[in-house]
């Protein structure tokens, strides 16, 4: 299995304050991201997501442990040539025009056909008409797009995006999502951190949840959510009031709307038992829905669990 990112027992601590208090930003992080996948890196503020990203880019050195990116050390300039990066809430040189900024980035990347690359990426991010505009006149969404453009300019194998949807309106988020899906179709690996969980559910093949520097959950999104199965909703119509009263005892919650009744039961067997009895009483099945937790619910539960420790 080819890995785009691999960390082994990665730790990072900082010392702050007059009495040099030790703060542990990362605690034995073991993470693997496969080539070609979209990996969502989740966690509350201060969980250590950005610290991890900085280590993966060679911007910060780990206190202990090892990080490999594209099977090489991120401190090597050769490795970074193969990575595209968008920082959180990016600020760019506002004295430059979009074209000048991308030309500067192209030179730093050592690109040969700079003009072709710039024209092409400006088209991808929809900023062709703004190429001569200074970045100081760009809106938040345009800045995010120029940030994506500089990250993708050198056709990287791995794209690391730190909060790419931050501060964007729904249209802007949709545009960035489309760019990410396009990258996945080209076989690129995308590693992104975000707070917007609906985007993760739409985009990611796998996710990792980082809390207080520790990786709490990691795996395929569907499997994580299936594990967090919550209850079954059985909706039946045509039941008489006395039958409803009888079945209510089997359900932990009941919701009545017009002639339909929804019973919430915890176990699958209980649900089938209730359905059989309801049908015997003349009830007709409307829906039978096993309900799993959303990623947001799972995330909030994990954060709450960790904060209690």
């Amino acid at each position: 299995m080819e890995l785009a990112i691999k960390t082994e027992n990665l730790c990072k601590h900082y010392y702050t304050g007059f009495f040099t208090k030790k703060i542990r930003a990362l605690d034995n992080l073991n993470l693997e991201v496969k080539v070609g996948e979209i990996f969502g890196f989740l966690g509350p503020n201060g969980a250590g997501k950005t610290t991890t990203i900085k280590i993966l880019l060679g911007l910060t050195k780990p206190s202990s442990g090892k990080a490999l990116v594209l099977e090489a050390t991120p401190t090597s300039a050769k490795t970074r040539r193969r990575i595209g990066f968008l920082p959180e809430a990016p600020y760019f040189y506002d004295h430059l025009t979009a074209e000048e900024f991308l030309s500067f980035c192209a030179q730093l990347q050592g690109l040969k056909n700079q003009k072709i690359a710039i024209d092409s990426i400006l088209t991808v991010v929809g900023l062709t008409t703004a190429r001569k505009v200074q970045l100081r006149h760009f809106s938040r969404g345009m800045l995010q797009r120029i940030g994506i453009a500089q990250a993708l300019l050198a056709d990287p194998e791995l794209v690391i995006l730190d909060e790419p949807m931050g501060g964007l309106d729904p249209i802007g988020r949709k545009e960035i999502r489309d760019v990410i899906i396009g990258l996945k179709e080209q076989g690129k690996t995308i590693f992104f951190s975000t707070h917007i969980l609906s985007d993760v559910e739409m985009l990611c093949s796998r996710v990792g949840i980082l809390i207080n520097g520790k990786l709490i959950t990691v795996g395929v999104l569907n499997e994580i959510l299936n594990e967090s199965f919550e209850n079954i909703e059985v909706t039946i119509k045509g039941l008489k009031p006395d039958a409803i009263a009888q079945f209510q005892r089997n359900a932990w919650k009941t919701y009545i709307a017009e002639d339909k009744v929804t019973f919430y039961v915890s176990q699958e067997e209980e649900a089938y038992f209730l359905l059989a009895k309801a049908q015997a009483c003349g009830g007709k099945l409307v829906s039978f829905l096993p309900r799993r937790k959303t990623l947001e619910e799972h995330f909030i539960r994990e954060v709450a669990k960790e904060s209690k420790k």
């Binding site: 970074r80 920082p87 600020y91 430059l96 050592g110 500089q150």
Partner: protein, 253 residues
Amino acid sequence: MKILAIVENTFKEAIRDRILLVLLVIGFIAIGSAKIIKPLALGEEAKIIKDLGLATITLTAVLTTILIGGKLVYKEVEKRTIYIMLAKPVTRYQFIIGKYLGLVLVIFFTITIMTGGYYLMLSLTNTEATLSLLLPILMTFFEVLIIIALALFFSSIATPITASLITFVVYFISNFTRDLKALAQISPSVVVKALANFFYYLLPNLANFNIRNLVIHNAIINPATILLSILYALIYSALVLCFAALIFQRKDF
């Protein structure tokens, strides 16, 4: 190629910065004021006009270095543009060298423009404009090479205001290092002696670069002294840059 890109970006950023424009305007006004004070010079017009112009060029170049150089690295860290740069295949040494050469280019540009204005003023006031006046300007350029390296060094460890302040203090003391040596010789205190000697050897001797009076008074200048000063500027700047790069290399962002 990568260093050139950083040089070009640093230069563009500086010339689009209002501080440079303001300093250039003030510099031109100071040079132009020679025309006003000419009637007050009582027979020393040529010397005063020449000296005022040369001093203005030096002051403008030094202030530009301190004010722009002081925020050169810190601003990149504070605004997080450094993430964009260092996440690309750029080494930290390339970054430091690129920033340094970018500011050198800005100072070269500033001094060239100011020199143009200076010679224009000499011609407007019918003052003899000899080529020998270029020599102190050249020495100012080499003096500023050292200050740029110091500003860059302080900018990589302190905030812009602190870095500018420290650079200014170091520049000021570095013009009087001979006095430090004298202090070390006459002071009875061992501590003062040690401190004075320490700073004498640590700080650059910038007084060597001030040959304005010698040129204005047509004194003979030994070319070897000039060449030695230039060599000194290059070596001192290179050493300070190495320290800045070493600090920068170990830094976490």
